[in-house]
Amino acid sequence: MSPNRNTPDAPEGRELHRRRFLSAAALGGATIVGASALGGLDADAAFAAPSPSLDPAIAKTSFAEGRVAGINGSMLEVAGSHGEFHRVQLTNATSIWKLHPTTADAVEPGDGLYARGVEMPDGSIAADAVWVNIVNLHCTIRGIGRDRLELAHNNHAVVGRVVKGTTAASYHGSALSSDLSRLRIGQDAQVLGAWRPKDDSIDIARVSVGR
């Protein structure tokens, strides 16, 4: 897969026009600043605040997990890890994450995925969001190289690849930064990234280290 297919940074022709239109629309929209609505409330008031629509208690959303067994147009056939089977419909409103926000043609058979969406009458799931090969692992940093971190997860060795321009680090809860030079061997780290089925390594999206 070429990196450009995954990074929406190099638009061409129509897409460029579309982005300019969207940019102008966004800048013409409302500006929202100010104090938090829910964060400042006490526990009871926070619970009493009305829920937004994305509320699983109302069972509006469905969830699918598994590996892509086949791709039929924009329909993903997904074999669940516990023997179940899902059909996940990608639409032109579906977000697809595979290390970056990407498009449907980046999904390959053998990929693992989590999908959130709405169940259709025919039993398929119209996906709102699909996360492909995403993992979020608690690791220990065992080694640091120029393009990789040697990680131990549950004492299994895992190679974490540093992806230039993408991999970001957070230190003790700080904002995510492109500066990876404060990572240390022996640190506990939470690594969020995209698993690569071909070589079982992980492309790192973000690594958060504690004290």
């Binding site: 982005r19 940019s23 929202i32 100010g34 829910l38 009305p50 994305l54 709102d128 492109s178 990876l180």
Partner: protein, 303 residues
Amino acid sequence: MLSLLRDLAPLALGALLAWSGAVKLAGRAPERRVAGTALERLANGVERATVALRAVGAAELLVAAALLTAPAVAGPAGAVWSGTAAALLGAAFTGYLVHGRVTAPDSSCGCTARGDEPIGPRAFARAGLVVVGGAASAVAAGPWWETVWRHPVAATALLAGCGAVAAVLFADLDRRLLLALRRLRLRVFGHPLEGAPKVVPVEASVELLERSLAWEAAAPVVRSGLRDHWDEDGWRFLRYTGTHGTDRNARRVSVLFALDVHADLDTASRPAVRVAVLDEETGEPVTDALEDVTARTALPIVT
């Protein structure tokens, strides 16, 4: 040399089994040690596996005591029996490892204090060492203390060698050394990830957005994850898709956010975010999309 090793085997193996048995029998949080091991699957549950682990520890301690004291208590026959018992224990370990490797290849063996790596060559080497040590003990020419007494220097050197092998196989000493060496290399040659350009990653902008009031206002409309992003004129644009309205009147919308491209959580805890909701089909702004949320709480909106 070999005969010396053979005659010292009861001492070396006895000490090893005494340590290993004590850790299994008296170690803290045995549930943690058996969780995820082949023993857990074999015993069909953490509680039964914990009992099994304790039992194995007790057996190791018994065999260790026999190896160390049998020649004094029961003479040469005692040495044969204790050595045979140790070899059988090693053979049982090997059988357990083969079974675990076949039935649960991802699980660990739970054999030693830090035994939560998958069953591999190291685990088999440990079990093999117990078999060989047991066999050697069974055919030892005399009590180990007589050998130590006769060849104090050679015995000390050999036991130190055995200790080093055990440290590598049982306590992962080599890996600890490797980590220390890697740390030293970073200190001497500098950090290999030094010098990355200082830009605000897209993930940082998304994080800032998701903690902002603008996100709270738009969250009920947004259904997707981040779909697209681009930078222009000092702004970073983030695009999501969503649904506005209920059932029949539901319209598919694009939700666009614009933030300062240089802002992140450390520099802007209360960022000003521009938000627009556009009808996906017509491209027209949906002006009432955010009002639904402002009714929820008093959100100050500045246009």
